[in-house]
């Protein structure tokens, strides 16, 4: 089997083009060629959610006062709640602030979750609008860095990256997560525990980037957040770089992210369009502001704008790879010799490659279980 050609996972370059998907029916507010800063609103999408607080103190009676059911569409100004007052002599109405539909009615939390028909999508980087795709989104061109992550949950968000910390144990949570992190992006150097996610959700952190997460922790965190807030999904964006489990973030990712600490970064978790998750890798993007760019422009030698793309091919010695073997998942390494046919213990004959992993371990891995991180053989190497 010809392995998957993934290309470099990290790209620091000029002229990077990234698509901000706004989805069908979106309203785009920028024009081609326009300069943007991280806070620029590119347009409005229908995918945002808004929690509307309702003044419900009536316990069980509260359910009878909500005029809408989950799934119903609502328009701005339409009554959501009718509350009797003055011993039944008058009624007070609370109206919906946006167009959308009711996703959830959260009686214990005294709130309604409305999936808005309009939600702002911001640029997240310094750059220019390279193209406008009506009814779909905006292509941004920017100078900076793009890191290709493994999996993600939650909508695209932007925020200031905090320094990398360990969040794998409940003991770390109170030390590293506090109210000062509201609206920021937390950086976990390895795996992230459920308690950290729950606490981050409580203080309204915008997102977390981590090396990995155990599926059990993710499920536990989701369950706990649901129990506490009534929200079905995590109220933050979580991106992992190297798979499910307890793997640490790769050194290359750490190096790039350490340069972005204190700056605005953009977590772009693509909206599923019917394709499988493995083809929709989330990315983290960041770009220097105008002042930093002026300082660095003379000194930095950038790689080409888009790493030379090439079709699928077999690995050759020197190729950077990531393993997707069931028991050695997410490890990075370098192909250290030519491919050979090997009869495995199961009796199957497969093409295998000798690989030197990042920790120095040398092993043979099935070619089908590698992802190529190098581009074409003559293109610049890098992850």
């Amino acid at each position: 089997m010809i392995p998957r050609m993934l290309g470099p996972l990290t790209r620091r370059a000029t002229g990077i083009e990234g698509v901000r998907e706004l989805g069908g029916g979106c309203e785009i507010e920028v024009r081609q060629g326009e300069a943007v800063i991280p806070a620029t609103v590119l347009g409005r999408t229908k995918k945002g959610a808004r929690v509307v607080r309702l003044p419900l103190d009536e316990g069980e009676l509260a359910t009878t006062m909500v005029l809408k059911r989950a799934g119903e569409s609502v328009r701005r100004g339409e009554p959501l709640l009718r509350k009797p007052g003055f011993f039944g002599l008058s009624n007070t109405e609370y109206v919906c602030p946006v167009d959308g539909y009711i996703e959830e009615i959260l009686i214990p939390q005294r709130a309604v979750l409305i999936r808005e028909q309009t939600a702002d999508v911001r640029a997240g980087v310094w750059g220019t609008v390279a193209d406008v795709m009506p009814e779909r989104g905006v292509v941004l061109r920017f100078d900076g860095t793009v890191l290709r992550f493994f999996a993600g949950w939650g909508p695209p968000v932007a925020g200031t990256l905090t320094p990398g910390v360990d969040l794998f144990s409940p003991a770390d949570v109170s030390r590293f997560i506090g109210e000062e992190h509201r609206g920021k992006i937390l950086w976990a150097l390895s795996t992230v525990c459920a308690e950290a996610i729950v606490e981050a959700a409580r203080v309204e952190v915008a997102g977390i980037v981590a090396g990995s997460i155990g599926l059990t922790e993710l499920v536990r965190a989701t369950a706990e957040v649901t129990a506490k807030t009534g929200r079905a999904q995590l109220p933050l964006t979580l991106l992992i770089s190297d798979g499910f489990g307890s793997a640490a973030m790769s050194p290359d990712f750490r190096r790039h992210l350490s340069g972005a600490v204190g700056r605005d970064i953009y977590l772009d978790n693509p909206v599923s369009g019917g394709g499988p998750g493995w083809a929709l890798d989330p990315v983290v993007a960041f770009s220097p502001g105008p002042a930093e760019r002026a300082d660095a422009s003379a000194a930095r030698a950038d790689s080409p704008g888009v790493m030379a793309g090439s079709g699928p091919r077999l690995p050759v010695p020197g190729d950077l790879v990531r393993t997707i073997d069931l028991e050695m998942f997410g490890r990075h390494g370098t192909v250290s010799g030519p491919l050979i046919e090997r009869r495995l213990a199961t009796g199957v004959t497969l093409s295998v490659a000798p690989v030197t992993l990042d920790d120095g371990m040398v092993t043979e891995l099935a070619v089908a279980n590698l992802e190529l991180l190098s581009g074409a053989p003559d293109s610049p190497q890098g992850r």
């Binding site: 089997m1 010809i2 392995p3 998957r4 989805g23 069908g24 029916g25 979106c26 995918k47 059911r69 989950a70 799934g71 119903e72 569409s73 539909y101 959830e104 999936r115 028909q117 009814e135 779909r136 493994f150 999996a151 155990g214 599926l215 059990t216 499920v219 989701t222 369950a223 649901t226 079905a232 999904q233 798979g243 499910f244 489990g245 693509p270 909206v271 369009g273 019917g274 499988p276 998750g277 493995w278 083809a279 890798d281 793309g309 079709g311 699928p312 997707i324 073997d325 069931l326 028991e327 998942f329 997410g330 495995l344 199961t346 009796g347 199957v348 497969l350 099935a366 089908a368 992802e371």
Partner: protein, 592 residues
Amino acid sequence: MTPVHLEIGNVLTRAMRVDAGGVDGTRAQAIVHEESTPTTVYAQDGSAVAGCDAVLTAHRDARPGVALIHLNGAPRTAVMGLAGLPTTELTIQGALRQAGSSVVQVRSADAASLEAQLVGIRALPLDVLAFAAPAPLTAERLLAGGGVRPRVLPRLLAMYNGPAGEHGPIEAVLGDAVEFTVLPPLRKEATVVDPGPTEQWLAAAADRAVTTDPELVRLRDAGFRVAPFARAFTIAAESIAGQLHEPPDQQPGVGATDIGRNKAVATLKPGAALIDLGGRYTEMAAALGPGRAASRWVEDLNELGLALPGVGSARRGADEFIRELDVDAIGRWLPFEWATTGLADALANYLRRPFAVPTNWRQVLTLLALGRVRLQRARSGFRIVQSGNGQVPGDWRHATGTYILSGGYTRNLPGPGLALALALDGLEPLGVAEVWCDRFGLLPFLALDGGAPPLSGTDPLLPRLATVVSPNLLQIDWRKPHEDDLLALVTVEREGGSSTTFRIVPGGLMRFPLRPGERAILTVHPMRDNDFGAGPGKVWRGRVVGGLAGLVFDARGRPVALPADAKVRQAKLLEWLDTLEAGRSRWDGERR
């Protein structure tokens, strides 16, 4: 010149060069060369062409054959109708069979959740809108706020096959946004349904979408016959159905004398089921008999479709149409210990990279366990919808005598014993049935390229794994001893004249060494009211043919019961795998 066939799959793009000698069934087929790569059609900035170019490198001199496209390459349809009605079900079936594997159903009568359903659908570009009921509100909401985008066609194709004369409001709402066609009502009278015009229209719409798809132009220009996998798959099921069914009076050594003595005579059921267990989707197509339209089913396996006991899953609140796999249920099929946490992570990683191949026994058995649970889920969800009256009969396995397992899972299994274990545990055939394995997924290609070949049993690429005998219903309680209990007395009369009689007991899996292709007369005398396909307590007597694993008697329960104790369960699983020679049997007949 041998043709090269292309499959643009949901997980892999695959090129396969097949020795054409096998098509007539007289000579064994052989895979001359096969190559695959993870599908590029889905990838960010990817295209079908990149993957096809890579896998065709070694086939430049070969004759272009058939190119089959799966989900994302195939047309996409949204069916608007009332849930559970035959008209809706038959429209969905028509779309599944003719227009590709991607069908989204909108339950148009459920106004409360209509908007929630449509948000996801509006995000996907579509090709076809099928209205099986007068649903102008659905049409209006579908087009609201920019509406749905056509995937490759300049305008969406829409049709209405609901009650006559009620299409006006839908047509008025859709206006010029779509190309609208009114078809004869699918339900002609109260008890008569005719899906013919709907099927024909959907087939034509699918062809228009495939022809327009710019991704596929190069393949057509290169001489490939491009078609949705769905259509080829169902044609294969329709042509296989009834092939192995021999009426009792045509069975030498069984029919005349037994019918004359008024003894119970049985035969292999005419229904045939094809099951494609891929990396992400489980596709099933089954036809109840020769000339009967096949029903089709697709099970999606999302990368986070895993649930943990007691806490649920990370997909909470997400797509309600995707059921989740229980990690513990998968772990129960492992003949070794693996803590839930580690197993959950390994499975989640695999589901995110479903093209990884197993390289040791631990990995093989883990994917086998996942495959079993996926098959069980697909099997229990599958329903056959009959064209005549739109009725859905009971468990489709009661009418199925031939099971053919294919897909990427079977290609990665080291031998036929494991494929048989997967089929037995996942599909749990009822009564007397044959299990075959189309390891390289040849049947859909051959079905479209001149018709599915006769199932000869001599072709190493399409072997009969076993003839399986099992009761239709059997409750096993592992806390009680079964050794003294008797399920049935069995007699196997070989063609050479020798006869063997033995008993089968509950809880066991045993093999009778009937050689591949060897014929015998099988008589099953059930004890009490056990039913082996001839009816409760009735004798099943008919002709059977040996497979690679001979004759297999599966008395482990229907559904298969696993012991609660982990150690006992693991020992039993190993014993059953050993019975099927899962660790020793090897595939034959490949020249790669």
